[in-house]
């Protein structure tokens, strides 16, 4: 119906007496990096949770490729191709990097018990494809040499990259990153920056980004939505946002 990959309109989320998200709308177009910014407690992560199915939104519409997805459970939404990371790294810490990436490819693998017990040719082929995909993405995020280490032993920046790789092996259409640069040093942040741009340009996906690092947001975003106290404040290109007086007042501080 529309050219938008993700279409959120009038999203509402109420926790008892608290209206955490009030009428947020955003449109993510294909092959775009779309950022959501706002002061702490503005409701950015709540918006994320509503879109990715971890909360059931109280009101509003969420459409992904024209299909209504609000109220679906988290794993169903991710199977549609809408995959997210978390504000705090959530890896399978005691499993190796490859295993982390293989778990993420669960739906690509032959999960038939009998096929796995006797190792049928189709089972072997799927397994091999999954391993190749895992190797490919480990290389993309520069972690190939650590393939058989436990994920919990990686440095924080490496864990962040692994989390992105783990999302990418599911072959998503829209990647949702919740503060991917939190806790990274400037060098790691700029590496991440390049990685996200490369994902958009080479993998043909859109990225929905929550971020505090203004340099990162302004540098790579195609479009920015600003949220303040649960309500939409502004929407536009980085240049428009930088000029917007309401945004400057609420977020960047008055000068």
């Amino acid at each position: 119906m529309s050219e938008n990959l993700l279409d959120v309109s009038g999203l509402m989320m109420r926790f008892g007496g608290l209206l955490a998200v009030d009428g947020v709308s955003l449109q993510v177009k294909p092959r775009q990096i779309h950022s959501v910014i706002g002061p702490n407690g503005a409701g950015k992560t709540t918006v994320f949770n509503c879109i990715s199915g971890f909360y059931k939104p109280t009101g509003g519409d969420v459409r992904y490729r024209g299909k209504a997805i609000q109220g679906l459970s988290g794993h169903r939404i991710s199977l549609l191709g809408l995959v997210r990371t978390f504000q705090h790294v959530r890896l399978f810490a005691s499993m190796t990097l490859i295993e982390n990436l293989l778990v993420a490819q669960h739906r690509h693998l032959n999960t038939n018990y009998f096929a796995g017990l006797v190792k049928t040719p189709s089972y072997r082929r799927r397994q091999r494809e999954a391993m190749d995909r895992a190797a490919h993405w480990l290389q993309q995020v520069d972690l190939l040499e650590h393939a058989n280490r436990e994920a919990g032993n990686l440095s924080y920046g490496q864990q962040r990259r692994l989390e992105i790789a783990r999302c990418m092996v599911t072959e998503p259409g829209l990647l949702m990153l919740d503060e991917p640069a939190a806790g990274l040093n400037p060098r790691e942040t700029s590496e991440l920056d390049q990685l996200i741009v490369r994902l958009r340009d080479e993998q043909d996906i859109s990225v929905l980004l929550i971020e505090h690092d203004m340099g990162l947001v302004m540098g790579i975003s195609d479009h920015i939505t600003v949220i303040n106290q649960g309500a939409p404040l502004a929407d536009g290109t980085p240049d428009q946002i930088r000029e917007n007086p309401a945004v400057i007042k609420a977020y960047l501080g008055e000068s």
Partner: protein
């Protein structure tokens, strides 16, 4: 030294008080009255000795531990063969163990074979519970319920419908799996302690049901005279029942009751080998990895499109089915079952096997199962102190190796260099 003096005095005082109360004085019934009687001189000297030992140990604890640290630790890593050699030797070693398992019973006493059969049942139970607790991280304290379901399935089907052991084995597994699924549904949302309590309750429900449904299960009297398994219709009894033949008649050898014991052992070995193979494969299959991922982080699982409901239920169901097989075999081996065999302490022992062995590690679980069944047999003289020893071993293990005898190793997966 000065600083250690007070704690040492305190510890000695506590020791003195406790030993005085427990060993030093005794109540004796003298007609209608109770009198307090002191212990004899020898006991008192032992108590004094214990107090002195505790005092000295506490006093010199620091120098002692420093001394212990300075002791050279033997370096054992060099003694083990290298990784490559080990990988090459592994299939041969496994083959050797399997052949050994089949030859061994013909060379030892009947009692040893019988004990080995019991051990194998616990190996199977431990491996089954390992799926639920070790892989999926769901603490199940009522595992014995599925064991009971398996055992009663065979006992009842053979008593009422005359079905054979081999017919009942898959039925017992399926029925136990069904019960696992039934238990799984209500506890899907529970984790940790809450899950443990509900599964504990479930285990008790099954036991109490078996105890009280007298018309069907015979209640506390149990079910006796359960048929032993047969080898392609050949029975292992002295005289064949109607329309069948016995093993010794068929082969024209003398009747020997140890044939039956060895046959049961071999059946158990086959069942355990099958269990080990199946679980080993499943562990490397997508579902096995999904169990572990679920244990690590359920929310991340959901965000990657894994359905936690299906994964949890499959862990419960598969784990329960192995208990069902074990139960069916147990009923056949004992020939008599009653609810007495399926008390909470059984669940606790199976769980102890999994924890001692190292959660998720198959080899560790097998080792722990062997240790847990054979050690009590070796220490028969100390029957009364069995639970005490059990507790002591647990405490020592938690101090010495909290991760278990053989903690799980991550599989090393080779990637094509790209």
């Amino acid at each position: 030294m000065q600083r250690a003096l007070f704690p040492a005095l305190f510890a000695a005082g506590v020791t003195f008080l406790l030993t005085c109360l427990v060993i030093g004085v005794r109540l004796e019934q003298d007609g209608p009255t109770l009198t307090v009687v002191g212990a004899d001189a020898e006991t008192w000297s032992w108590i004094g000795f214990a107090v002195v030992v505790v005092f000295l140990f506490q006093l010199f604890q620091q120098p002692l531990s420093r001394l212990k640290q300075r002791l050279p630790r033997p370096d054992l890593t060099g003694l083990l063969p290298g990784d490559q050699l080990r990988n090459r030797l592994k299939p041969w070693l496994i083959a050797l163990v399997i052949v050994g398992l089949f030859i061994w019973p013909f060379m030892v006493s009947r009692g040893a074979v019988d004990l080995a059969t019991l051990t194998l049942i616990y190996v199977m139970l431990g491996l089954g519970l390992n799926i639920v607790v070790g892989f999926a991280g769901l603490l199940d304290l009522g595992y014995v319920a599925f064991y009971a379901v398996g055992a009663y399935t065979y006992a009842l089907l053979s008593e009422y419908y005359g079905l054979s052991f081999w017919m009942c084995l898959p039925i017992a597994g399926l029925l136990a799996a069904t019960f696992g699924c039934v238990l799984g549904f209500p506890v899907l949302r529970l984790r940790g302690d809450y899950l443990a309590i509900v599964t504990l309750g479930f285990g008790e429900i099954i036991r109490i049901l078996l105890n009280n449904w007298t018309s069907l299960t015979g209640g506390p009297n149990g079910i006796g005279g359960i048929d032993k398994p047969s080898l392609f219709g050949l029975e292992f009894s002295r005289r064949a029942s109607e329309g069948s033949q016995t093993f010794h008649e068929f082969f024209g050898i003398d009747y020997d009751s140890s044939h039956k014991v060895i046959f049961l052992y071999l059946v158990a070995v086959l069942l355990v080998l099958l269990t080990v193979y199946v679980i080993n494969r499943i562990q490397r299959m997508p579902i096995g990895r999904a169990w572990e991922a679920l244990r690590e982080d359920e929310i991340a699982c959901r965000s990657l499109g894994l359905n936690p409901t299906v994964i949890k239920l499959s862990a419960f169901t598969l784990g329960a089915s192995f208990a069902g097989f074990a139960g069916c075999f147990f009923a056949a081996r004992q020939g008599f079952i009653s609810p007495e065999s399926f008390t909470f302490i059984e669940s606790a022992i199976i769980l102890a096997i999994v924890v001692l062995g190292g959660m998720g590690s198959q080899f560790g679980v097998i080792l722990a199962a062997i240790a847990m069944t054979i050690l009590p047999e070796l220490a028969r003289e100390f029957q009364e102190y069995r639970m005490l020893m059990f507790g002591g071993v647990m405490v020592l293990m938690m101090l010495w190796r909290p991760q278990g005898l053989m903690p799980m190793k991550r599989p090393h997966l080779e990637l094509k260099s790209s």
